[in-house]
Symmetry: C2
Subunit: 228 residues, 2 copies
């Protein structure tokens, strides 16, 4: 049973890579840059997106969101209030309730995405620190949100996720005075598993650090030639 | 590709059910009751176990822990300090880095578990709100930890997990004064997806509510006839 499962996973990952490349070509053709945003459930991805998309932090950059959830549209409904294009993708709806987005699911959502009208697509993945890291979806960059309430050892326990990301947004720093958490140790643990990762200390609640997150997004999107 | 994946999942779940029954028979023969403890990463499962196993809350009840992680033994090392039997099970070690425990993994750990010396086995699952709910492991009861920092809508977004559990431990209530969270609404949302679930308000940090959690564990273990 074990060997069978591993073989299936390997085949699925190969197929995923092929479809991710096709997605990437489509995004490139439309001059859209894509960020895959991952985290544990409740780390604050949606609030972070509300903060960075709700104000002027991104300037002229036109952003859209692809919202991944097992079911429901709670986060998409919140983001739609910002009057930006938001598309809901449910893994429970024809995809067996998967715990992550894969390239095929994102491909199925492409016709619903207004690619011609945006420069940057933020894909909010299903809340999970394991499987989302294994499936590329055709993104340009990967970021994760790690809440300070989750403890300092998460990079060491879920290294694949922390290694997969170029950016680690350490969120909820407004709660630090109320936690027994050494945030320097958390940053050091990120560095131990991924020395290349950039860490940002952020409070999506108070807005602290949001400008730095916006700068990073603009940097990712800055590779897009200005639309003619 | 989609239909193939669903078929595989269905076969895997059937096989899992068969192996879970075999585990259950082995646990029953040894008169050990088993709790499957699940949550998001960082919700506080290990701290909760430290609290309830480290004091006198469980009285004469002899408990052991099976610690599930993708890799590493951070939590098992913490719990081993309590001088209780702790067995580490890594899904990254021969099980493809799975995001959950399944019955076959638990079966592989049975020879390492001192079943004759314990009355209650607490299985700390991999931190994940999706897949662990789909795989029975031969347990008598399922409990989950939901941290108040994760927000009120998690029961509605991950209903399968909340429906799978008899007990929902709402943890980190010491942080409530610092959060914009209506804990009554969280409890109501649990009730909406699982009217049968019992909710306990707990702070593993301060110890508040730990006795009620201990009582619930004793209730689960109370079905065990006293060993001759």
């Amino acid at each position: 049973m074990h060997r069978t499962k591993v073989t299936i996973a390997s085949d699925a990952l190969d197929a995923n890579t092929t479809i991710a490349s096709a997605n990437r070509s489509d995004f490139d053709r439309e001059e859209v840059r894509v960020v895959n945003l991952m985290s544990s459930p409740g780390a604050g991805k949606t609030t972070l997106l509300e903060r960075v998309l709700g104000g002027d932090a991104l300037g002229e950059l036109r952003a859209g969101v692809l919202e991944g959830d097992v079911q429901g549209s709670f986060d998409a409904d919140r983001l739609a209030l910002l009057h930006i294009p938001v598309t809901q993708l449910n893994t429970g709806n024809g995809f067996g309730g998967e715990c992550h987005l894969d390239a095929n699911m994102v491909r199925s959502a492409l016709p619903s995405l207004p690619l011609a009208d945006i420069d940057l697509l933020l894909v909010e993945n299903v809340g999970n620190l394991v499987c989302p890291a294994e499936f590329r979806i055709g993104e340009d960059a990967r970021a994760m949100v790690a809440s300070v309430t989750e403890g300092v050892e998460k990079p060491l326990k879920y290294p694949l996720m922390f290694r997969a990301c170029e950016l680690v947004v350490i969120n909820k720093i407004d709660l630090l005075p109320h936690l027994d958490l050494d945030v320097d140790r958390l940053v050091a643990n990120v560095g131990q598993v991924n020395p290349e990762a950039r860490c940002l200390l952020v409070s999506a609640k108070t807005g602290e650090g949001i400008d730095q997150f916006a700068d990073w997004l603009a940097e990712v999107a800055g590779r897009v030639p200005t639309a003619a």
